[in-house]
Each structure stands twice: as structure tokens, then as C-alpha cells.
């Protein structure tokens, strides 16, 4: 090949049809792992927070894909696929049966609460894996999974099937599953070994452990992920600005308060709450893996819990997340009180006490200290809450 064509040399490696096969095989590998996870009859740690230990919901499945794809890509990267020939003037393809020969075709793209694996065309928002698989299922093209969104009640009162990315969507195994040999037939021998190792590693994880391992991998990415929650809330959605304006005008703001709580809880979980599940899941996988290469890659890719959560930067973010969560919960009770809600003093008292614990002292702890006789916020209370909202917003954005 003359050097005149060298401007696009590596793009000569592009193959039409390759991506279709990559997707099919990655979906097949994931389907096998999900089927084995559901079929596992041994013990798992109790999991109270994610609908028990026997089902994978959309978020946990999404994180399972994150974990598997991360390991798969790291194994793929162990062997340089594009190498220079001995003279250094030629690029050769270095493939063979002793390696993972293709990367996960799903790309890591930013989602509402951090990255997920998705198909991205550069023009429209990324389509995350559950949505992609559900569409394939609906079109009767692929049945490697059984995806069941919940039924929800619309504002009109009509019952309808929720979107597949609804948190209560259940991702189950394929309806029919042949033998393992048949299912992984088209993979190369080393790829089959890797899939088998992943099967052993993952089947004993409970959904919270899967979610934690998929969400976190190391300290820098955890920091970025917590900051994502802060910035999404403050800069992008403008939730706190709207909430602040409602406080000024003395209007209830339940939607804004709920949204704040959602982002604050996510940030807090990432900054602290996920640590236990992550550590337990990581220990379990380390104990299960026997293949030296897969074990080594896993230990490289998934940092020990203490490296992530004992980093001073993460500890600092945890403090901010705790204050944000405290004030978010408090603001929801304030909104309820503004809306004329009965029995707000109990929740107000609890929320105020929690705020004091996380470093936000002096917030009114009863309706009498918060609301005037005509149902408005008392000026002192309003000014104090707004001052704290501003301070917390500033804290989050400065992180």
C-alpha cells in the first residue's frame, strides 16, 4: 500500500457486517450469564434494597452489562490487536484463538445517573442496552432475554406498559435455553473460558453487589460520577434554582424536592452507601475466579473498596452529598407544609434533626416556627432555608 493512501490506513480494517456479529455475540454472552445467574440455586447475601435476590431489574442489569463489558474490554486490550511488523512500516492484525478477539460493541455513554453501555449514532441521544434489547424483543428479532416493563397508571387514569428503562422493569433469562455448549458454540476457545469464569464470578452476586460493581471501578471515576450528580442537579436541570424561586414565592415545590432527593440519594450512595455491597461483591468475585488472567484483569479494573472510599476527595464529596440529602429531605417537608399538609411537624422535626447532624443547624423543626397563620413561610425561616439552599448549591458546584 503506497503511502499516498496512508491518510485512512487503519480505516481499511473496517468491515461491513463485523458489528452485527459483535453485537450478536456480546448479547449471547450476556444472555448466558443472565440465564446462569437466574439458574443458580446456591446462597447469595440477603439483599433488601433491590427487590430481593431473585430478580434483575433494569438498573442492575444495566450495571451487570457495565461490569461484564468492562472486564471483556480489558481482556481484549491485553493483546494489542494492531501491531507493527518487524520493519516498523506495516500494521498487522494480531488475532488468534488464545485471546478475546473483539471488544464490546456497546459504548460507554453518559446517562441520567452516570455512564451506561449504549448504541450511539452521533446524531440522536444514546440508546441504552435495555431499550435496545426491548426493541429487538418487540420486533421479534432477538429473544436472548425476557424484558418485562411494569404496568403503570398514566395521568389520564389509563393503565399502560411503562418504558423499558423504568426501574421496576425486570430483565429475565431467555425463554428457551439450550445447552451451554450450543449457546457458546461460536466463540473461540479462550472466549468460552472467559465467559465460563464470568459465570462463576457473577452468579453468587446479589443485585446490590452487581449494581455497586457496575457503578464503580476506581477512585477517579467514582469522583467524576458523584460530581456528575451534583452538576446535573445544579447546573443542568436548574432544579435548585426553581426550588429557590418557589421558596421566595411561598409556593409548594414537591416535584423539585423529589428530584433533588433523587440526585442527592444517588450522590450519597456513590460517595458512601455502595461501599459495603462493592466490597462484598469484589471479595466474592476474587474468591470465585480461578483463571489467573481474568483474576488479574478484575483486580486491575475493580479497585479495592478502601482505595475508592477512603480517598480524602471522596470523603469530602460524601460530606457534601450528606448535607445535600439532608436539606433535600427537609425541603420536601417544607413543601408539604406549604401545601397545607397535615401532620407535618413530625417529619419536619426528623428532617431538621438530620440536617443538624450533617452540619445544617437551626432549621425550624415545627410547623409553628415555619408557617404563618395565612399559610406562608415565616420570613426568617424562608431566608434561612434559602441561605442554606444557596450554600449547598455553591458547595456542590464548586466540587
Amino acid at each position: 500500500m503506497g503511502s499516498e493512501d496512508s491518510s485512512v490506513d487503519l480505516f481499511h480494517l473496517l468491515r461491513s457486517g463485523r458489528e452485527g456479529l459483535q453485537f450478536e455475540r456480546m448479547f449471547r454472552a450476556l444472555s448466558f450469564l443472565v440465564e446462569r445467574w437466574y439458574a443458580y440455586r446456591g446462597d447469595r447475601s440477603p439483599d433488601l434494597g433491590n427487590g430481593g435476590t431473585s430478580q434483575l431489574r433494569s438498573i442492575q442489569f444495566d450495571k451487570l452489562v457495565m461490569l461484564v463489558a468492562r472486564l471483556w474490554d480489558a481482556l481484549y486490550a491485553r493483546k494489542e490487536m494492531l501491531q507493527f511488523g518487524p520493519l516498523g512500516d506495516q500494521v498487522t492484525l494480531n488475532t488468534g484463538a488464545d485471546a478475546v478477539t473483539f471488544p464490546c460493541p456497546l459504548q460507554e455513554m453518559p446517562g441520567k445517573h452516570g455512564p451506561g453501555r449504549a448504541v450511539y449514532d452521533g446524531q440522536t441521544p444514546p440508546r441504552f442496552i435495555v431499550s435496545v434489547l426491548y426493541q429487538l424483543q418487540q420486533e421479534d428479532l432477538l429473544h436472548y432475554f425476557t424484558i418485562t416493563p411494569p404496568v403503570e397508571v398514566a395521568e389520564t387514569g389509563q393503565r399502560r406498559t411503562a418504558l423499558p428503562n423504568h426501574p421496576d422493569t425486570v430483565v429475565g433469562p431467555p425463554v428457551q435455553f439450550g445447552s451451554k455448549k450450543q449457546f457458546v458454540d461460536r466463540f473461540l476457545p479462550r472466549e468460552v473460558e472467559v465467559i465460563s469464569e464470568l459465570e462463576l464470578a457473577i452468579r453468587r452476586l446479589n443485585p446490590s453487589e452487581i449494581r455497586a460493581l457496575g457503578t464503580h471501578e476506581n477512585c477517579p471515576k467514582t469522583i467524576a460520577s458523584i460530581k456528575w450528580e451534583f452538576h446535573a442537579l445544579g447546573r443542568r436541570l436548574g432544579v435548585l434554582q426553581r426550588l429557590r424561586q418557589s421558596l421566595v414565592e411561598g409556593r409548594p415545590f414537591p416535584a423539585e424536592a423529589q428530584e433533588w432527593i433523587e440526585y442527592a440519594e444517588e450522590a450519597w450512595s456513590k460517595a458512601s452507601g455502595n461501599r459495603g455491597a462493592y466490597a462484598a461483591g469484589r471479595d466474592r468475585i476474587v474468591a470465585e475466579l480461578s483463571d489467573p488472567e481474568v483474576l488479574s484483569v478484575f483486580q486491575d479494573v475493580q479497585a479495592p473498596a478502601q482505595e475508592i472510599w477512603e480517598d480524602p476527595r471522596v470523603v469530602r464529596l460524601w460530606t457534601v452529598a450528606g448535607r445535600s440529602l439532608g436539606l433535600a429531605r427537609y425541603s420536601l417537608t417544607v413543601s408539604a407544609a406549604l401545601g397545607g399538609g397535615k401532620k407535618t411537624s413530625g417529619p419536619l422535626h426528623e428532617a431538621s434533626a438530620y440536617c443538624a447532624e450533617v452540619g445544617i443547624p437551626g432549621l425550624p423543626d415545627s410547623a409553628d416556627n415555619l408557617i404563618s397563620a395565612d399559610g406562608k413561610l415565616l420570613p426568617n425561616a424562608r431566608d434561612l432555608i434559602i441561605e442554606w439552599v444557596d450554600r449547598i448549591l455553591k458547595e456542590m458546584l464548586s466540587c
Partner: protein, 517 residues
């Protein structure tokens, strides 16, 4: 470049357009390339003849480079005065009366969707001079998407084209042929943003590289047109700083483009192209120019931040020019002869060259003043160089990097740039699904990505040049957050259009991101 046979584990068939490029019997020949250039020349000449424009507005950097290649061609050069050619990027920096009441020809070499022309049409529309009687859009080759977007059924402008409704493979092939023409003509650096000084080499290239490396790093590569290119990279050290007093307050000169390109023009002739692009404050800050700089740049830089960015860049580029010339003179002045650009009144003799083409990007630039300033820079560099000739720097010998390695590294860098641009755009879409703007990366961000690939900065700097010359990376001036937390106007980089972005995306899906990403 890829050795055969392709192993069986690589599924799928080569893409059709690459089959045609790889198969010599079906690959467009040099003749086909020449025919294309001839078609381009014929098209532009016909538009000038038929439309009789007062002014040609050239779209984008590649468009200006093509016009320059046609005008400066040895064979059948296009006849058109530089003073009546203006870059679309410079439209905001000219007075309204330069455009109002004129017959205007907008030249776009390749149109993908047509959306990129919107700012040009908006500017003309704001002046009330957008009509099919006064404005013609001349597109050499248009993608089928542009027809879908109604680019050829506009009621606002007259439209002409040579190729239209091109399917993606044909569009990509034509684009590559045009890029090859540019590379043969002297690369994308033929654009109209940068000053240049010519050098006649009496020694070998290795001697030249040795001289350039006295106080800088240099990387040598061959461009697509088989020209020797040298990227000379200047670090952010005390020896390579700009005097802040000459520039607007709030300017940032750390982590910016600061280099020289040395591009072979003929067997023994090279163009030295200094490039320095400080980022500038968005605020309307004070710029206490001295009378000479004010006269040199003209009044455009006062009102328009975009023009100010380029004005600052032009002045700033005089410093890398001085550094490179100083290093050359300090090494061995017998090795080369520098020829400086001439004033317009000296051009009658036919010899030499001028910098008239800079008018396209800098409509208010005093070209003759610039020639004088460059002559002074050369004089100072000679003096400084001779004084420093006795100083020997202990530099390790130059370790050449193969073109294959550079091109592979360039692809890897392009992949990670494209990935970050995609991620940022996807983030924007999460919160604003109607978002159209894809922000590029500033140079510090690209350096940081390159360093994660274990490339040093000089190497990364050369990769920029390869990618820009190949038409894979496009440059912009955009608002960008600097390392000090201040948002400024800065040079940014991103994959050149959706065709390249898509190609890179597919490459990443099929072959993965580089290690460490």
C-alpha cells in the same frame, strides 16, 4: 499497510469504498485526481465568468486552501484578486458596506448537510442583501443529505453545483481526492490563516532538523503528498514566552498551540509557518496596541472577538518565527537561505512571494506592514542567532519515528478525541435534545488525552498536523474553559464533520479504544 491475509477471526467484508481504494485496478488514478482538479477549476472559473461576482466568500478552511491552490497553481492558475476573496470565518470582521450592494459568490467545495452555511446566510440576511439576484451559492460536490435539507431549493440564493446528491461512498471518495490534491499542492497549511517565510536548504534535512532542535523538539514526517514535514514544538518555558504587554489583558499563553511547521514546497525549498494561538478573554478588555500594531491589524480586531483572536494569533506567531529563525541562524547560516515575503510594490519583478492571501482571513490587515515586521523579526533573529552561535546545547540525537507509527498514533488520538466529543455531545442531548452544537476540545484537553496514550507533547503536536492535513481533524475558535477556570476564546479541535466522526465511531466499535481508555 495491512498485511494479508486477514485472519478468519476478523469477521465481515471490507467496506466497499476501501475495496476500491485498495485495489489498484479500481483505485482512482492520478489521472482521475487530475480530472477532478480540472473539474474544480472549470467550475470555479465558470461561476466567476457567469455570475460576475464582486466578492467571493469561501467557506471553511479547506475551501480557502483549495482556492489558494487554484490561484497559485503552476498550471492554468485561476485568476482572481486576493482582495476580493474573503473567508466565511472573517465575515463578522468586515464593515457592512463591504458586503452590502455587492454581487456575492459563496464557494463551498463540499457540502454535507448545508447546515454549516447558516452563519454566512444569516450574516448576509441581517444586512438585507440575501437574494437570488445578488447571492449565489456554488457548491462543487454535495452529499445527498444536503438535497434532503433543501439546500438546492432555496429561495434566498441562486444555487449552482458540479456534483450533487452524492451517496456517502462517492462523497467520501471525492473528499479524499480533493485532500490529496491539497497535500500535493502543499497541504492544508495552504490556508489563509498563517504567515510564512521560505527557506532554501543547501544541506540535508537531518542538518535542518538538528538546527530546529537547538531549543525545541521536532518531529519529521512525510505528508500524504510525499512532502517532508517538520513539526517544531515549543514548550511552555521561559525561553518561549510572549511579552504580555503587547497583547490584550486576560490573554492565556500557557497550554496553547505554539509551534512552527516546516513544509517542503519543492526539492530544496521549505515554507516555515509559525503558529501561535493564545486564548483570549471574552470580556471587552483593554488592548493597548501601539500605533504600529494598530495599523498592521486594522480596526477589525477592536469590535469583533473572533477577529481579535486571529489578530492576536498573527502577532503572537511572530515570536515562534523569531525563535525558529534564531535557532537556524545560530546553527549554521551557510546551510540555508531565507527569502522573506515582499511588499506589494516589489512584486512586479515576478520573483519572490507575497502574503496577499492573508487578506482572505484578515480583511483589514496591512500586508506591506506585515512584510516589514517579518523583515525586522528576521533581522533580530540573525543578530541573536549570531551571538548565540558559540552556545552548544547538549541534545540527545534525533530519534526518527516511522510514518506508520505516527499515522497509527494519529488514528488513536483521533479516536479518543472523537470519543470525548461524542460523550460531551451525548451529555448535552440528555438535557437538551434539540442541541446541535458539538464543542471541540481545547489543546490542553487533547494534550491530556495524548499523554494518557504515553505520547509526549512534541509527538502529539505532530499528530495534530497529520490529522489536520489529512482532513480528519477540523479546527475552530470556540469558548473554552481554560485550566485557570476562566472561559476564553480558544482554538478547539474535533473530527472533521459527520463523515469522519462516523468512520471513527465505527472503528472504535470494531477495534476498541486504545489501551487505557
Amino acid at each position: 499497510m495491512v498485511t494479508e491475509p486477514i485472519p478468519s477471526t476478523i469477521w465481515g467484508e471490507p467496506l466497499a469504498e476501501f475495496v476500491s481504494l485498495r485495489d489498484d485496478s479500481r483505485r482512482p488514478s492520478r489521472d482521475a485526481d487530475s480530472i477532478l482538479v480540472s473539474q474544480l477549476r472549470t467550475f470555479v472559473a465558470a461561476q466567476i465568468r457567469d455570475w460576475r461576482p464582486d466578492l467571493i466568500v469561501v467557506h471553511e478552511r479547506k475551501g480557502t486552501a483549495l482556492m489558494r491552490a487554484l490561484i497559485e497553481s503552476q498550471v492554468d492558475p485561476l485568476s482572481w484578486p486576493w482582495g476580493r476573496l474573503i473567508s466565511s470565518s472573517a465575515l463578522d470582521s468586515v464593515q457592512d458596506d463591504v458586503l452590502r450592494g455587492q454581487r456575492i459568490l459563496i464557494f463551498d467545495d463540499m457540502m454535507r448537510t448545508g447546515k454549516a452555511l447558516a452563519p454566512v446566510l444569516t450574516r448576509l440576511s441581517a444586512l438585507g442583501c440575501l437574494s437570488p439576484e445578488t447571492v449565489r451559492l456554488a457548491v462543487f460536490a454535495a452529499h445527498e443529505d444536503s438535497s434532503r435539507n433543501g439546500a438546492f431549493t432555496s429561495k434566498d440564493v441562486s444555487v449552482a453545483w458540479f456534483y450533487r446528491d452524492l451517496a456517502p461512498p462517492s462523497y467520501r471518495r471525492l473528499r479524499e481526492q480533493l485532500l490529496k490534491f491539497l497535500q500535493r499542492s502543499g497541504s492544508l497549511m495552504l490556508d489563509t490563516e498563517h504567515m510564512e517565510v521560505r527557506l532554501k536548504l543547501h544541506g540535508g534535512v537531518s542538518q535542518l532538523v538538528g538546527a530546529l532542535r537547538r531549543k525545541a523538539d521536532a518531529i519529521v514526517f512525510q505528508s500524504g503528498g510525499q512532502r517532508t514535514n517538520i513539526t517544531v514544538y515549543y514548550a511552555d518555558d521561559a525561553a518561549h514566552r510572549l511579552p504580555e504587554a503587547r497583547f490584550p489583558a486576560g490573554m492565556n499563553q500557557i497550554g496553547i498551540v505554539k509551534k512552527c511547521r516546516v513544509v517542503q514546497r519543492a526539492a530544496d525549498e521549505f515554507a516555515i509557518i509559525p503558529i501561535c494561538l493564545p486564548s483570549i478573554s471574552l470580556a471587552d478588555v483593554d488592548w493597548p496596541q501601539d500605533a504600529r500594531d494598530r495599523r498592521l491589524l486594522g480596526n477589525a480586531v477592536q469590535g469583533c472577538p473572533f477577529a481579535r483572536f486571529y489578530g492576536v494569533a498573527l502577532l503572537a506567531s511572530l515570536y515562534p518565527l523569531q525563535w525558529v529563525l534564531r535557532d537556524l541562524y545560530a546553527s549554521d547560516p551557510r546551510m540555508f537561505t531565507i527569502s522573506l515575503p515582499r511588499r506589494s510594490d516589489e512584486m512586479g519583478s515576478g520573483a519572490g512571494y507575497s502574503l496577499e492571501h492573508l487578506r482572505v482571513m484578515f480583511p483589514t490587515l496591512a500586508i506591506d506592514d506585515l512584510a516589514e515586521v517579518i523583515a525586522e523579526v528576521d533581522h533580530v533573529a540573525q543578530s541573536e542567532g549570531s551571538r548565540r552561535r558559540h552556545i552548544k546545547f547538549d541534545r540527545p540525537p534525533y530519534q526518527p519515528v516511522s510514518d506508520a507509527r505516527l499515522r497509527m498514533d494519529a488514528t488513536r488520538l483521533l479516536q479518543v478525541i472523537a470519543r470525548v466529543v461524542d460523550e460531551r455531545y451525548a451529555s448535552e442531548l440528555l438535557f437538551d435534545p434539540s442541541c446541535q452544537r458539538r464543542q471541540g476540545l481545547n489543546i490542553e484537553e487533547v494534550f491530556a488525552l495524548g499523554e494518557r496514550l504515553n505520547f509526549d507533547r512534541a509527538h502529539i503536536s505532530a499528530l495534530f498536523d497529520i490529522l489536520i492535513d489529512d482532513g480528519s481533524l477540523v479546527t475552530r475558535v470556540e469558548k473554552s474553559l481554560d485550566a485557570d477556570g476562566v472561559t476564553r476564546f480558544a482554538r478547539t479541535f474535533k473530527p472533521d464533520g459527520e463523515a469522519i466522526s462516523d468512520l471513527v465511531r465505527h472503528f472504535t466499535v470494531q477495534w476498541g479504544l486504545p489501551r487505557g481508555f
